[in-house]
Symmetry: C2
Subunit: 714 residues, 2 copies
Amino acid sequence: MLSNLNSVLMDQQDITDIQQELGKKSLMGLSLKTLIADTDNYLELPLDVPGHSPAGGYAHNKHQLNGKYIDQAGRLFLITGDEKYAQFTTDLLMQYADKYLQLGFHEQRNTNPPGRLFHQLLNEHVWLLYASLGYSCISHWLSKQQRAYITARLFIPLLDMSTVQYDFDFDRIHNHGIWAVASVAICGAAIGQEKYIDMSIHGLKGDDEEGGFLAQISKLFAPSGYYMEGPYYHRYAIRPLAMFAELVHRFRPELDIFNFKDQVIGKTIQAMLSTAYPNGVFPALNDASQTMDIKDEGVVIAVSLFSKHYPEDENLLGMAKIQNQVWVNGCGTALSKAYASKESVEMPCLPSIELNEGRNGDKGAQGFIRMQNANGDISQLVMNYGQHGMGHGHFDTLGLTYFNNNQEVLREYGFARWVNVEPKFGGRYLDENKSYARQTIAHNLVSVDAGCQNNFDVDIADNKHGIPHFFVGSGKVQGMSAYAVDFYPGVDQQRTVLLVEHEQLAHPILVDLFRLSSEETHQYDYSLQYQGQIIRTNINYQQHQTLNTLGDDFGYQHLWNIGQGQAQDTTLVSWLQGQSYYTWLSASSSDDTLFFTRSGASDPDFNLRSESSLILRRKAKNSLFANVLETHGYFNEAVEASLEARGKIHQVNIIGFNNNASVIEILGDDINLTVMVNNDPNATSESQTTIEFNNQSYSWQGFLAVETNNTKRS
Amino acid sequence: MLSNLNSVLMDQQDITDIQQELGKKSLMGLSLKTLIADTDNYLELPLDVPGHSPAGGYAHNKHQLNGKYIDQAGRLFLITGDEKYAQFTTDLLMQYADKYLQLGFHEQRNTNPPGRLFHQLLNEHVWLLYASLGYSCISHWLSKQQRAYITARLFIPLLDMSTVQYDFDFDRIHNHGIWAVASVAICGAAIGQEKYIDMSIHGLKGDDEEGGFLAQISKLFAPSGYYMEGPYYHRYAIRPLAMFAELVHRFRPELDIFNFKDQVIGKTIQAMLSTAYPNGVFPALNDASQTMDIKDEGVVIAVSLFSKHYPEDENLLGMAKIQNQVWVNGCGTALSKAYASKESVEMPCLPSIELNEGRNGDKGAQGFIRMQNANGDISQLVMNYGQHGMGHGHFDTLGLTYFNNNQEVLREYGFARWVNVEPKFGGRYLDENKSYARQTIAHNLVSVDAGCQNNFDVDIADNKHGIPHFFVGSGKVQGMSAYAVDFYPGVDQQRTVLLVEHEQLAHPILVDLFRLSSEETHQYDYSLQYQGQIIRTNINYQQHQTLNTLGDDFGYQHLWNIGQGQAQDTTLVSWLQGQSYYTWLSASSSDDTLFFTRSGASDPDFNLRSESSLILRRKAKNSLFANVLETHGYFNEAVEASLEARGKIHQVNIIGFNNNASVIEILGDDINLTVMVNNDPNATSESQTTIEFNNQSYSWQGFLAVETNNTKRS
């Protein structure tokens, strides 16, 4: 079968189709142009196959690049026919074959076994995958001797290392495991030893249970397609997953891989994409950078793959518009043609979605609510009420992020890591990742008794998850609600967040009802991570003349207490972020204290970014933090324009709350809303609720209701 | 003459030419499209002529917008012939005519007299200018009665207010004065009362001395064309200046205005443009925002005007490329055609330039040095060694800013003002503008004895200026040097800054030699305002566990002392800003102390931005701060790339310095430079200097020399 192929992932028809896009302005044409320019730049550099360096060092980076360009040049040889690409690929592979076995293994640095090129096997697998792809494109161009030499001195040792020496690490159910099986399968296909394909698909034991690709894709994802380590790690795993799926499709069509297990491959691609903010950036769920986005190579490949093998999806074309590129492969051609066939492609506007977690979908969920306003701007609310994301998990169950006007408003700090920045601990995770970034107080939720959820214990956290209450994902009032039981000893929590459209307001308002229940009195710190300049507040506060940290542990040691003041009945703080104003209002009392903080304390190496937060502190047994966030106005310093720097909402009052229901009112200029939420875990969308607070009765059907009152207030 | 015109600033040929660009992708076509869309949006709103409001309030903004759209709709009536524009313009003007005299005057709030529409006369003049332009476009379409009504009830009262009631404020030599005369002249032209043109040109007294346009443009600018309040105020004055010049050209061609006084109009436009950073943003010299740029309306008009009336200039076309628009006027058509006639237009690459200050060019200068690297990136160095900018002046003589990689690296804080943000003190200058933004310590230079230059006394400062030493504005080593004598009692200062290309480095290095001389011991604080994340430093420092301010006055009260440590022989700090790394190295000793600071202390209303600086403190009589700033590497978090996070320069040593010369060496990987500077005020480019330090002799010709030594260092 191999002899009929020009590459393990492209046949002659794919290549002909791609050739026809050369010089065109189609997505494939543009992608090809970029690929050629990028590859040609690299071809101008002297060849170099170095030895060892630490992660982020020269040799590490060089091996990585060599792998990447072996693949790119290989593909370009097939597409352009230019032998310079074949020669380059050959020269590099021959040099690696000369040198590979002479390179000793790296010292072991972490739990991942070391390779010969890299400090950890994961990187060796990534390299193997690309080198094998490149080899498969040029192998017919090589002499028999060259093929034998490269196979014997480079690929077989690599395959042995993966499947024999480190067999224990080969096909496990883990995102690294997908890289392992994908690279071994692709290498096996490239050198014509198909046994490697089969052991990669079915596991070393061949039972599809403990390892192998089919077991991995059956077990790694929730029924919703969600990957528990979050989109940052998902997009890293999706790259080998998509390439391996394409290989399986070509070499083992009888497995019907794209329909396997209820189309798990398509579903997990869609789940990953459905987490993204409207600008294509992924919310930093669990350890993640704030900037990873759908232009990542893995996502580009996955979107192209989906487009070829699954039904057309308008939002996917919108994603391609943001990506502005496709995978240079037959799958990419399919996407490029679908895209070109449209008169115009809109930016994606994804529906609201709740993605369940756990192998059976019963370990909580991640909720994504989106609402588009009349100007086309999309507000997106992300709430985490799923599982702890294993070793990368943040202790932020019921945590929230919020995005609109092209920026994250309630922000996730992301990881404490300067990725690939060698002087910053080799670009690895920093101590402050544990001491700050993963702590509860670094997020947008309540910290109890100045501590962390589950006492920052991963084992405890791994055994818990949020409990979904409701998810209403369409209409002018959308919302979701969930519980976190005993994440702090003796304290139960429920959070209900809504997006509510109102004719007086250009953007929906965010209503956030964070309820805590306990038999003992606790200190509750409701915190919001914001960015920008404070514009006004209605509280009397003192800016401190000497700054101290807000605490000694659980992340508090990293927060400077900039200022504090007694809260008001409705505490109000406005800030300006970018070109937009935001006003936060919270029902509170003079017993509460508002803190203004800034991160960067106890940070001897300047590893943390200096970022600001608000913390509303209250001592109580049972308490409801009832908040509204209004998005308003416009500011553009360059043209000196400012509109509506003050919001329209003035007051948030709690009418009442208990285990059955919460009722609040929101008052402002021509705004008078009553928000009613059913808190009973047994409620359904049919439930009739009637409840009395302050001698007034409130009734509604279902989980929630928002009523407009006619009485106007000034 | 008037009867032949369709507008006071456009004749029939201009209009025909503009009409031909409708629907085209030329700069004029695009500008027209934008103008139409913008105007049509406004036409859909209900007409409203409100009463009074404070600055930044509703009525203020509405009057401003009404004025703007009277002009835009007027022009569009002539260009499109669509009577809806004429009707809108008429309706608005009639409503203003109904209401104007019934509106009382605002209360006087500042030194500027109040108007009827606005709190200060300046805004009333801006409004009058636009309303008059719009009226001139539609007056032939009005009935005789309408013309009489608008003239009698609106324009004549406005003209009377300007030229009779507030005659003392009318034609003075000041940037507000240009708005006054331009608006009165244009109104006079629009209603056919040309006496107003003449009194605006020649002054109320008609003597071209104490007032009027000709006196203003003769006296406001230095021979170099520089305006002493800096580009932020210059671009505001240039708008009425350019429009009035066009009017003079049309109505008083005999004055040959564009050749008047050695082409002062063309020269001052060029001077303003020549201050801009490579991205078109103006350096914030004196009180200014950090974001004002050449897309400002005044600059767009000025560039179009220049293009019509002065010889073609490639950099001006480059500016138009950044602006991506032209003035919708005959001048704009000229620019649009010149632009379209080029096969391609490059981004502007302005030459280095020294702009002298003072009416005779003898009050110091502003220096702008630019160097483009092989990748096309332009580094720009700006040094202020001119006059104190009057009431808006910052106390930063010998201050520096530095720009490359599309960002300001050594930063100017800009004004402490949230312009037009009503809850921030009506968008006006804040107390912190005086207490921080204008203080010496807020800038990139040396503060002596924790004080401010000239003791923050404007009167003293207005009588001083920097003294230029040399300016070398071409070649691979460029530089400038200047003195500040007695800006601190008993302390003289000289700063020499160089940009030096080196084959080992992708970007030029910035060499900064800041020399202080005194007979007494003083505390010298050399400060750098940077932005981004500290990546590494070679000093042992302590981050403080409790933060205090760095001082009590002169801006120090606004700086948190984050951490401090003993300096090294060469003190090194690297940081990451955006996608680029920067390393600062300074020759120092263990007697010096380095402070890490952050602004925002003593700021009860959160008026200041939180920004970071480095301060190297030294006690000495005579001292040289010898610094190098290296730009290196690349970081892109989204694609997880980091290259060359460590710079190549390791050491900066002072060989010797005195009143005659300074000699330093710069050592690094394959880098070994000796930098020699002549400090003698009497030096010339022919001077031969020979000086001995540590028994070694150094010789060179001219102001400065940079020599490469062959001895390599590891």
